[in-house]
């Protein structure tokens, strides 16, 4: 007596009584070749040695192709799903307005318990908003990513399929990134591990993996683990290239460029920023395009390629103004000042650098304001303007002391100030202080 296909299916689906299961297993162990063959259909995975052995017999059981009616059903369901997603996305902005009124614990409670908020569209929108806050409001960035995670964790698999785990992985990656932005590296590390685990449960989408790799690479940069960061960026590049994700490929080159720049490999960093600009889509994310261009111009200037830096600056200037971002405009002024200084236009350089420095102080950006102050000091020193050099030295300390920043940075600036007042300051000493501050800036907090 053979085991029918239906019974074999019931056996592997755990739908039989123990005695019935025993009968089937005994029958298989008894060596019935027909029934063993039927069981083997549940066995071989493509590419395995088992598969090679079982391939021909399995092929004989395969019914090829889906017919037109199956494809029509698929298309009809896909169209319905598209309409659902369109509606969710249209409602998401308003849903966030509603959620925003509540304190964070209540927002999380609502997201976890109110069905109407448990949509893919809202999860996606919250991640978009969180990402937008990455420069201006790290606390809000984290809050929005956490609500997105709560939404993703509550999504119904029956509606969204196994991709719900992908959104969960993406939300975890954004939470981890927000933790990294807030310098909570240990928590970020743990969250990225959870993100990878969630992705394993989902569809394994390489683009989601690329997002995690990108954020992890940034964490490694902040931890000054540059070799690890480079490996992650390279994996991300390979994934984006393989899947034809051109904008994402640009972002991956941007990440690698940052790593090379921080390692001091300016030549490679310049090549990466040039390459990333070939791929980035300004429509999709103009801010990263501007950041890449800015980094490229700075590096060209630092490498002494002034003509190229100036050319690029001319092309980019309208973009700084279009984006209307105060921080970017201040960075533009700083760059203009430094290039003017390199060209010997000291009056223009002074004007630009002072404006940039004062703006940075007003924006509470201690590191940037310190660096610009040191540039100004270097310039005044070369012009023998001791009074102005002393003024710079006096203005620089309170910024750092009031922010309770790195004690090593404060010590370096104290040495700088002493050298100014004892009139022993040299241009070399100023440049060394700038380079030391740059290193400290990317060092993880103790």
């Amino acid at each position: 007596m053979h085991v029918s296909d239906e019974r074999m299916r019931a056996f592997v689906s755990d739908r039989l009584e123990p005695t019935q299961r025993r009968e089937i297993l005994s029958h298989l162990l008894g060596g019935c070749s027909d029934c063993q063959k039927a069981a083997r259909r549940y066995w071989a995975a493509p590419g395995s040695a088992d598969d090679a052995a079982a391939a021909s017999e399995a092929a004989s059981h395969f019914e090829p192709g889906l017919d037109d009616s199956a494809w029509n059903r698929i298309l009809a369901r896909a169209t319905d799903h598209q309409h659902r997603l369109d509606a969710e996305r249209a409602a998401a902005t308003q849903q966030w307005v509603e959620l925003e009124r509540h304190p964070q614990p209540r927002r999380l409670l609502i997201a976890r318990n109110q069905r109407r908020y448990q949509t893919w569209g809202l999860g996606e929108e919250l991640l978009r908003l969180s990402w937008e806050n990455r420069f201006d409001d790290p606390a809000r960035m984290l809050e929005q990513a956490e609500i997105a995670l709560a939404v993703a964790e509550s999504l119904d698999d029956a509606i969204y399929g196994s991709a719900t785990w992908d959104l969960r992985a993406r939300a975890l990656a954004h939470v981890g990134n927000a933790q990294r932005v807030s310098s909570d590296f240990r928590a970020a590390e743990k969250t990225f591990r959870a993100a990878r685990k969630a992705l394993d449960q989902g569809t394994g989408d390489p683009l989601e993996l690329a997002t995690i790799l990108n954020f992890e690479a940034t964490l490694r940069v902040r931890q000054r683990r540059f070799d690890d960061a480079l490996k992650l960026a390279e994996r991300e590049i390979a994934l984006c290239r393989r899947w034809g994700q051109l904008h994402r490929l640009g972002e991956a080159y941007h990440s690698r460029g940052v790593v090379h720049a921080l390692r001091g490999d300016d030549g490679q960093a310049i090549r990466d920023f040039e390459r990333c600009l070939d791929y980035l889509d300004p429509e999709r994310d103009p801010r990263i395009v501007l950041t890449s261009r800015h980094n490229l111009i700075s590096l060209l200037h630092e490498e002494g390629r002034l003509a190229e830096a100036l050319g690029r600056l001319r092309e980019t200037r309208p973009m700084y103004h279009q984006l209307g971002d105060r921080l970017n405009l201040l960075r533009l002024r700083q760059l203009e000042g430094e290039i003017a200084l390199a060209q010997g236009e000291t009056k223009l350089a002074e004007e630009c650098l002072l404006e940039a420095r004062n703006g940075m102080i007003a924006a509470d950006l201690a590191w940037d304001s310190a660096e610009i102050s040191l540039r100004l000091a270097e310039m005044y020193l070369s012009q023998g303007r001791n009074r102005e050099t002393r003024e710079v030295a006096e203005q620089i300390m309170p910024i750092f002391q009031s922010r309770d920043l790195h004690t090593e940075a404060i010590a370096a600036l104290l040495l700088f100030r002493e050298a100014v007042f004892s009139e022993t300051l040299t241009a070399h000493m100023v440049r060394q202080t700038i380079s030391f501050l740059r290193q400290l800036r990317t060092r993880p907090p103790a």
């Binding site: 592997v12 755990d14 123990p18 005695t19 299961r21 025993r22 009968e23 005994s26 162990l29 063993q36 063959k37 069981a39 083997r40 549940y42 066995w43 995975a45 493509p46 395995s48 040695a49 052995a53 079982a54 399995a58 395969f62 019914e63 090829p64 192709g65 889906l66 199956a70 494809w71 298309l75 896909a78 799903h81 598209q82 309409h83 997603l85 369109d86 996305r89 893919w120 996606e124 929108e125 991640l127 978009r128 969180s130 399929g161 991709a163 992908d166 993406r170 569809t203 989408d205 683009l207 690329a210 990108n214 954020f215 899947w243 034809g244 994700q245 994402r248 972002e251 994310d285 990263i288």
Partner: protein
């Protein structure tokens, strides 16, 4: 840095039903080739195509190359499906044997015959598997207990036990004789 999978291009396919239709018709040929290669049964192939398409619609705004992404997603769905199916066969054999060895009934000739047959199948597995499989199906040891008994770490014994169960499944399904040594368990 990657942007979130923003909805800025939302509905680029869905809003113009045309886009979705043409994408699906291009995808159809490739999907059929993939399901043929992986020998996915027709009713399962429909589900897997559907899953891939839903995931695509959810993520479409961040996908630059829809054709490549969609067929890649379908291929992964097929592989996961095959792994799940294979796992189900392992689980069916494992559950049946555990129930048989823990059955409190004093004498049951059929059960005793099954356990004897299993014993011979275990004898034909690689030497390292025999002790693990005997501890599990004769004495009903849990993974942690096997690890303790044989001096393995729990994490590694899980992997080894899974490979041993695969070796036993090959015997049960007659695949080991079919493959003639092509499919030895790797340790």
């Amino acid at each position: 840095m990657p942007p979130p999978q923003a909805s800025q291009n939302q509905g680029s396919l869905g809003q113009s039903g045309e886009g979705l239709h043409s994408l699906v018709s291009r995808f159809r040929k490739q999907a059929e080739r993939v399901s043929l290669r992986y020998r996915i049964p027709r009713e399962d192939a429909e589900d897997l195509v559907q899953q891939s398409l839903l995931a695509f619609l959810q993520k479409q705004s961040a996908i630059d190359c829809p054709d490549a992404w969609l067929i890649g997603a379908f291929r992964r769905e097929c592989l996961m499906f095959l792994r799940r199916r294979q796992r189900r066969l392992y689980d069916a054999i494992d559950t049946t044997l555990l129930e048989a060895c823990s059955d409190p009934a004093p004498a049951d000739p059929e059960r005793d015959q099954l356990l004897r047959d299993v014993e011979s199948a275990i004898d034909a597995t690689p030497p390292r598997c025999r002790s693990i499989l005997r501890l599990r199906y004769r004495l009903g040891f849990a993974t942690e207990e096997i690890a303790e008994e044989l001096g393995y770490r729990t994490t590694s014994v899980r992997k080894i036990a899974s490979r041993c169960l695969a070796a036993l499944t090959r015997k049960v399904t007659g695949l080991s004789s079919l493959a003639q040594g092509a499919c030895r368990a790797r340790f």
